[in-house]
Symmetry: C2
Subunit: 325 residues, 2 copies
DNA sequence: CTTGATTGCTTAATCGTTAAAGCAAGAGGG
DNA sequence: CCCTCTTGCTTTAACGATTAAGCAATCAAG
């Protein structure tokens, strides 16, 4: 490994000058700068990040903590984060908080021990990370109004609810997966808020809710809105078992536009998160906080996008109480 | 941040003794060791990884390069890797090689610049990474016989083919996604090798292959074996459009046991990779290579597991040329 | 009682980089 | 012509750990 010192003795100048030339700081004549640059290139010089980190206290590494790395959104977040971080010469160190708040603290501590310059946290359901000695950006939490970047889950709920309303449904079921999840509660809140009071709405949760939802269809509901594509797929399976067809007898919607959603039959109407935008904003913010000193700021919200596919259609009132038009 | 120096002056001993006591090296009396440990704890001492890295040349960081972080297997690999790495006090820095061999080299270089102690690489289709200055373990490549850990893709193909054979199918279609992928070729090779010569076999590839496969069903094939659950889902959708039922008229199999495979209708018979085992072995090997000096060794292969679900059943010969039993 | 080994600690150098401070030479102003 | 400022470079001291070498005291053995 060739160091600054070797370039210095090779060229007969001091190490400080090499450092200054290469980093563009201090005062070095333009001519010498270019000479040093080319010589460094020739020798294949690569700065030691460890030495730089020791001296400056900055590692150029961001920590990414997720509640569960198998989260279906994780790959997309990780990828965009990784690409955006690259552009700013930052690295991304991952940590899995394995579903528990304790493990989340552990993961944060490990990352801090490694000297990360900032943290991007997708928090455990229902937890808010403690104050940290480095800048933090929280992803996808509506709860914490500070330093967060989140999809507009409530807005997304509104989009899908209005879609269902627009195409003529008047009795709907909302099905959530996990009541502890702020995100899912926000989505549902967005849905219910968008529906006028004369619309029949039932809200169910969890596995038991799947059956209840199907039962509601048999007693007249014409649409099921879920808070996740995975739940929608589950409902789809249950509906198939009970011979109820989608979208002829019931319209079905998901959330998140997962990999299979466009492929399943019928292709699922869903709401997509703008993951790229969220991750980009997160990196923008965290790097602004690291370098400049951007103060704490209010949470940002990134709009969601309605993706209409074949699983929703105008209601067919054949099975419902009202006569068909 | 409290350093070794502060503990030293606080306790009236030298920094060397502190270092020795805390790392368990050198010669320090047992009594002093425990006193130092407790005092360090009290002061909330955390060793500076940067300083240690600078002095020892070891960062305790592993680089993970994947061709595409949105790869559906990535989350599970990342999670297991992360958990196993934690146990050994290693961190994981991720990099996305974005589908191109050039970007892969770039990603490797970036990780090396950051001083990773080892690399775990899921290579681009068809590429073999150059020799590296640090230990490398390659995941999921059958091609490179050295320093790799891979699912036994061919074996997995054999498992599913024998299953199809055992339950009575005699004319089958094999459908692959991407001919460039070594993995998919291995899977198909495993399938064809397991089938006796008197079995009718057609192999198709890509999107065009989906339609061809469906056509083959209409001319008598009773099973479609795909090299990916995603492709299977695609086929399922196409079959639904043409009113062919699974598994009554045709059995269908996937590969990889993805999130939706147990939820879709009918639940998909597939072959699961033992991702945990693969990732664990990868970390075992890489850390052995880093610390001890385990030499290059032959590639290891981890068995796959057949997961039989509802998408496969004994053939119903109603639509085929032969009379039903 | 002397010698040599062992134990328990300290001294000091070092990893590669940055950055404050210093210094000599040339430029510009009065 | 003298003084100050600027430019371009060097000197030097860190950053926080590790580690080889050194040294004094204790101990065992002959």
């Amino acid at each position: 490994m060739v160091s600054i010192k070797q370039i210095a003795s090779d060229m007969g100048v001091s190490t400080a000058t090499i450092s200054n030339a290469l980093t563009g700081k201090g005062r070095v004549s333009q001519e010498l700068v270019t000479r040093i640059q080319t010589r460094a290139e020739e020798l294949g010089y690569r700065p030691s990040i460890a030495a730089r980190a020791l001296k400056t206290g900055q590692t150029g590494i961001l920590g990414l903590v997720m509640p569960d790395l198998t989260n279906p959104l994780f790959p997309r977040i990780a990828q965009t984060l990784s690409i955006q971080a690259d552009k700013r010469k930052l690295g991304i160190l991952i940590a899995d908080s394995r579903g528990s708040a304790d493990e989340q603290s552990e993961a944060l501590r490990r990352l801090l021990d490694r000297g990360v310059d900032g943290l991007i946290v997708v928090p455990q359901k229902g937890t808010t990370p403690d104050p940290m000695p480095v800048p933090v950006v929280v992803l996808n939490t509506a709860s914490d109004p500070w330093n967060s970047v989140s999809a507009d889950h409530a807005g997304g709920g509104g989009l899908v609810a209005r879609h269902i309303l627009d195409i003529g449904h008047r009795k709907v079921v909302i099905l959530g997966g996990d009541q502890v999840s702020e995100v899912q509660r926000d989505r549902i809140a967005g849905m219910t808020d968008a529906l006028p009071s004369d619309i029949g709405v039932d809200v169910f949760w969890g596995d038991a809710g799947v059956e209840k939802s199907v039962a509601m269809v048999q007693s007249g509901a014409t649409a099921i809105m879920t808070t996740s594509d995975l739940i929608a797929l589950q409902v789809r399976t249950e509906l198939m078992r009970t011979q109820i067809s989608v979208p002829d007898q019931v319209s079905l919607t998901g959330f998140d536009d997962m990999s299979f959603s466009s492929i399943m039959h019928p292709a699922l109407t869903t709401v997509a998160q703008n993951v790229d935008e969220i991750a980009s904003r997160a990196i923008d913010i965290i790097s602004a906080k690291i370098s400049g000193n951007m103060p704490d700021h209010e949470g940002e919200t990134v709009p969601m996008r309605l993706v209409v596919r074949q699983s929703t259609s105008i209601p067919n009132h054949f099975f419902s109480r009202r006569p068909s038009r």
